[in-house]
Amino acid sequence: MLTKRIVPCLDVRDGRVVKGTKFKDIKEVDDPVELAKYYNEQGADELVFYDITASYEGRKLMLDVVKKTADEIFIPFTVGGGITTVDDFKEILRAGADKISINTPAVKNPKLITEAALRFGAQCVVLSIDAKKMPESGRWNVFINGGRVDTGMDAIEWAKEGVRLGAGEIVINSIDADGVKNGYDIELTSAVSSLVNVPIVASGGAGKLEDFSEVLTKGKADAALAASVFHFKEIEIPKLKGFLNEKGIPVRMEW
C-alpha cells in the first residue's frame, strides 16, 4: 500500500537552516548537512531544501551545499529556490536532487513548468504555491517572492493550471498557518487535493501530532511537510509515525 509521507523541510539561508514565523523574524537553527543526516536516520520519507533567499536576491543556489546534503541521504531530495531556467534544473539534479520545486519563477514564467517537465519528466517538477486567504472573497490568492507580493491569482486555479502545464506534484503552503503551529489549513489542502490528480504536499502550521493525522485524512494530503516542530524536536518522526500508524494511516514504519 502506498504510504503517506512525512517530509521535514530545511529552509536554508547563506548555507544555514533557518526557521521563522510567517516568513519573518528568521532564526538560525543548524547545519543543513547534519540535519539531513539526522532526518534520514529518523525515518523521514523525503527531505525538502529551500534556499529561501535565493529567489528575490536573484542568487543561484549554493550547489555545494546541495551536493553535500545529497551525499548523506538515501531518501528522495527536493530542492527549491532561485531556479529560473531549465539549465538550473539540470545543474541541481546533477548535484543530487531528485525533484525541483519552483514557486515565484513558475508564476512569472509558466512555460518553465512545461519545458522542465518535457526535459526531465513531470515527476521532478514540483509546483510550490504560497497561498493566503483573502477576507473579502473568502478564496486563496497566490503570493510570490517569499510571501511578499500578492499576484491576485486564485491558488486553486493556479494549482490546476500548474498540473495542466506539467507539474508532477503540488506543495500547498498556507501563509496564514505557517509558523503559527495551530494546524494545517485543512480547507485549502482538501480543496486542492480534490481538484488535481497529482500528489499534494501540505505545508505550514504543524504543531502537534493530531495536525498531521488531520491533514493526511480530512485534508486529503499525500504528504505532510513541517520544519520547526522537527528542528526543535518538539515532534520526533518515529513517535509521529507510531501515532499515525495507530490511527490506521499507512506510513513506512521501518527504515
Partner: protein
C-alpha cells in the same frame, strides 16, 4: 567496476554514491569501451521515454548496451532505465525500446488514483532471486513513475500494488530491472544495490 551509463539527464550521483557507500567501485560514464569492459552496468533514467531512447541512440549507446547484454554482462535498469529495456513504450506516442525484455510500457489508467505513483510502497516477492536475498516481503521502497511494464513473459521477481499489480523488480538471465529507486529507498534500497553489486563481482 560497475558502469553507470550517462546519457544526459537524471540523478546519476545518487546511484554512484550508494554503490561507493557499499564499498563497490563504480564510474559514471558514456564511454563505450568503459561500459563494455565493466563487470556490471546500471542504466539509470528519469524523464520521458522518447527523450531517453533518443539520447541513448544519438550517443550510440543503445548498441553498446545490446552488445553488453549479449556478452552476458549483468545489466540493471532503474526506473525509466528499466522501462527502456522493454520492446515498446507508450508514453506520448509509441516508441521502440531496447527490446532486451519482452513486453510493453503502459500508463496507469485509474480514475481514482493520483498519477504519478509517487511515494513509498511495499514489495511482494514473487520469485526467489539473488537480487532479493537481503530483503523480505513487505519492505517499503520509493517509487516515482506514471508508466509501468506489462511483461510479455514470466520474469517478475517482485511486484507492487497501485490500482494494478505491476512489476517492481524483474530479472531474465543477466538483465535486471527495478521500477523504484533503490538509491532513494533507504536501507532496503541499499540492500538491493548490495545484492546486485555482489552478483557482478
Amino acid at each position: 567496476m560497475i558502469a553507470i551509463v550517462d546519457y544526459g539527464v537524471g540523478n546519476l550521483n545518487s546511484i554512484d554514491n550508494g554503490l561507493k557507500r557499499l564499498g563497490f567501485s563504480s564510474i559514471v560514464t558514456e564511454d563505450k569501451e568503459e561500459i563494455l569492459s565493466a563487470k556490471g552496468i546500471i542504466l539509470p533514467g528519469v524523464g520521458a521515454f522518447k527523450d531517453a531512447i533518443d539520447n541513448l541512440k544519438s550517443k550510440g549507446l543503445d548498441e553498446t548496451i545490446r552488445e553488453a547484454a549479449e556478452k552476458g554482462i549483468p545489466i540493471l535498469g532503474i526506473c525509466l532505465g528499466m522501462q527502456l529495456l522493454y520492446e515498446k513504450g507508450f508514453e506520448d506516442g509509441e516508441w521502440d525500446g531496447l527490446g532486451l525484455l519482452k513486453g510493453d510500457v503502459v500508463k496507469f489508467e485509474m480514475k481514482d488514483l493520483k498519477i504519478p505513483h509517487m511515494g513509498w510502497n511495499s514489495l511482494k516477492i514473487r520469485k526467489n532471486d539473488p537480487i532479493v536475498k537481503y530483503i523480505s516481503e513487505g519492505e517499503f521502497v520509493y517509487f516515482v513513475h506514471s508508466y509501468y511494464a506489462a511483461p510479455g513473459d514470466d520474469h517478475v521477481v517482485c511486484s507492487c500494488e497501485y490500482g494494478v499489480d505491476f512489476p517492481a523488480i524483474v530479472a531474465r538471465g543477466n538483465i535486471y530491472g527495478i521500477q523504484f529507486h533503490p538509491e532513494k529507498s533507504g536501507k532496503t534500497g541499499l540492500k538491493i544495490l548490495k545484492a546486485f553489486g555482489e552478483m557482478v563481482l
